[in-house]
């Protein structure tokens, strides 16, 4: 058996992944274990989990692969800071510290963490890791691969042509066709506006997407002065409006505030619009609508740019299949448009298209491209994290003196829960292995009845303690998805991972208002093969309500990683207004 451990870290969302003969058998982000959101440190805990899950502690893996080339990245950092001197002195000092203390010793650190000699540590460049993370996990034997992210070594955007059969005939290749270099980056453009809109970079990008739906793109022209798009899909950033190329703390320059005519949003300022908060003070509403319009404009320019990039990827490759990766591929609206508005017929996006996913990509690249082993793996589900047995769950419950009952019969468990959900109870649902990637897909989820319009505000304010404008996603039985949204045939796997925002059928909007975000939904399609227990729960809920849909949001509180262990779940349960907690077969009530 060939065992390859992939690792990503030192930027954000550190992660580890293990492949055995090219099959991903374990993958997890470090934050789930360390409980530090977006933890970027060397993922020692995630590495230990991956190795333990396959009994490979103590040097059992053949190779450890890092998801980028540190020295190339260092050259870019130094060249960029030199090019922006003397404004970059603070950034240089911080970078010098980080490289001196940690990053330059990555080979030795990885060798020590995995228990292998240093010569078994390999390096794959950042965008190749991204491209491999999507193509080599896809069901396609050839595809155009579009990677759009912040930055790796130098590249920020790449188009590649990939091929590799499942019958082992011929080489598996990922051939780079086009690239764009730092600082001209769609990911960093979006992050700069995320900061302008008062959210944390590398965390609040989803909030910009959610906020955009409340506005109209009336600042599109102004935003296009900061990002110039070309007919061939490439683009250029006017650096006068940005600061990320010379600063670690600032993403945008004061010129951006002058361009838009308003200072950046204060993160502590409540967000209000006329439609959502009719009673809010007028000035607050005016400002809220201004920022929503900026968000809508940024979202529109981003989507248009992704569509143009996808057109170019199609023109260059002629493929019918599109694989997306990079942090920008978490933008479900852009993904859906890239499929709908280009000649591509099918799309694949892995559940962790961002930097964490580079860990899987680097491992699969070594396995199939460098070692030349044939492909056999398609990522059909995202349940690659740690699981806990019923005995371990009971130990945690008894240790916390929780009162619970065990329902061993799955049918009865699902029927009982469906009844509670129908009665309006909000349930913490903890089952099996945790999800790979930022979305909770029915194993570490908070579930509720999507028919109740008031559920959105209740969960945002009383349970997750987050902004009231944040939308919720519907989990839908796969067999019924086509009757709720359009465009599913081409996107079956990405829809399992909540990576597409699609228009809700008009006739369904009144039925499930709690997951209707201005006529769209970032749905999860639930299949019996990928998650049988969650599928059964949805079936039970449908039997009672005629609605094969549940509101599904991640099981965490604002600012915290998604729960990983039974103790995390119990702690979250204790600090929120969740009505019920289900851990495996154990039903915990207050």
């Amino acid at each position: 058996v060939s065992a390859v451990l992939g690792v990503s870290c030192f930027f954000h969302d550190a992660a580890a992944a293990l492949t055995l003969d090219g099959v991903v058998v374990a993958a997890a982000e470090e934050e789930r274990f360390s409980r530090r959101k977006h933890d970027a440190r060397l993922p020692r805990r995630a590495i230990r989990y991956c190795l333990e899950s396959a009994g490979l502690e103590g040097g059992g893996v053949d190779y450890v692969v890092f998801y980028e080339k540190p020295l190339r990245k260092l050259r870019r950092v130094v060249a960029t800071l030199a090019a922006t001197a003397p404004r970059s002195s603070a950034a240089f000092a911080a970078a010098a510290r980080a490289w001196r203390d940690e990053r330059l010793w990555i080979r030795a650190s990885l060798a020590e963490a995995a228990g292998v000699p240093a010569e078994r540590v390999l390096f794959v460049d950042h965008h190749t890791s991204h491209a491999a993370s999507t193509f080599l996990a896809s069901p396609f034997e050839e595809a155009a691969v579009l990677t759009v992210d912040g930055v790796g070594e130098w590249s920020t955007t790449t188009i590649a042509a990939a091929s590799g059969t499942f019958d082992g005939i011929g080489d598996t290749t990922i051939r780079l066709l086009r690239s764009q270099s730092f600082p001209h980056s769609l990911g960093l453009f979006y992050s700069a506006f995320t900061a302008y809109l008062g959210f944390e970079v590398n965390d609040g990008e989803y909030k910009v997407m959610g906020m955009a739906a409340y506005g109209a793109p009336r600042f599109e022209e102004a935003v296009r002065r900061t990002l110039r798009g070309y007919d061939d899909g490439s683009f250029w950033l006017d650096l006068d409006y940005f600061a990320f190329h010379h600063s670690l703390s600032d993403s945008f320059a004061p010129a951006l505030e002058e361009l838009l005519g308003e200072l950046a949003r204060d993160p502590s300022e409540p967000f209000a619009t006329r439609s959502a908060d009719p009673d809010a003070p007028g000035e607050l509403v005016r400002r809220g609508e201004f920022y929503a319009d900026v968000a809508a404009s940024v979202q529109k320019v981003t989507e248009d740019t992704v569509v143009a990039l996808a057109h170019e990827a199609h023109r260059l490759t002629g493929s019918r299949n599109l694989c997306l990766a990079g942090g920008v591929a978490l933008n479900g609206l852009a993904n859906a448009r890239a499929l709908r508005e280009t000649p591509f017929e099918r799309i694949f996006i892995p559940p962790a298209p961002g930097d964490a996913g580079g860990a899987i990509g680097a491992a699969l690249y070594v396995e199939h491209v460098l070692l030349g082993r044939p492909r056999s793996y398609v990522m059909r589900h995202a349940y690659l994290g740690k699981s806990w047995s019923t005995d371990e769950i009971r130990v945690a419950l008894d240790g916390a003196s929780a009162s619970y009952r065990i329902i061993d019969d799955e049918e009865r468990l699902c029927e009982t829960l469906a009844g509670e959900l129908e009665r309006g109870r909000v349930v913490g649902w903890f089952q099996g292995r945790s999800e790979w990637g930022p979305r909770a897909l029915g194993n570490r989820s908070i579930l509720a009845d999507p028919r109740d319009r008031a559920m959105t505000r209740r969960i945002n304010e009383k349970i997750k303690y987050r902004e009231p404008f944040r939308p919720f996603a519907p989990a839908i039985l796969e067999r019924d998805v086509a009757s709720y949204v359009d465009g599913m045939e081409a996107a079956q796997l990405p829809a399992r991972f909540m990576l597409l925002v699609l228009p809700l059928a008009e006739s369904r909007r009144e039925q499930i208002p709690a997951v209707d975000h201005f006529g769209t939904a970032r749905l999860q399609s639930v299949t019996p093969d990928a998650n049988p227990r969650f599928y059964r729960l949805l079936e039970s809920f449908e039997r009672r309500t005629d609605v094969p849909v549940l509101l599904n949001t991640s099981f965490n509180l604002r600012g915290e990683p998604i729960v990983n262990s039974p103790s995390d779940a119990l702690s979250t349960f204790a600090r929120s207004d969740l009505d019920l907690l289900v851990l495996g077969p154990c039903v915990v009530s207050r």
Partner: protein
């Protein structure tokens, strides 16, 4: 800790800053000026370097 911080300042102001200023006189390393029609870098094929597929530079 004071010594490494001083060293990094010295490196920055004595080496990095002059090198950066000099490079800006002759090149546009960050492509501050908008290209006329495209910002793509066209790549050739990328074969594994010198046959040593697993010993690629880091």
């Amino acid at each position: 800790m004071a010594r490494p911080a001083l060293l990094s300042r010295l490196v920055y102001f004595l080496i990095v800053t002059p090198a950066g200023l000099a490079s800006r006189l002759v090149t546009d390393p960050l492509h501050r000026h908008a290209p006329a029609s495209s910002n793509w870098i066209v790549a050739g094929s990328s074969p594994p370097p010198d046959g040593a597929r697993l010993r690629q530079p880091w």
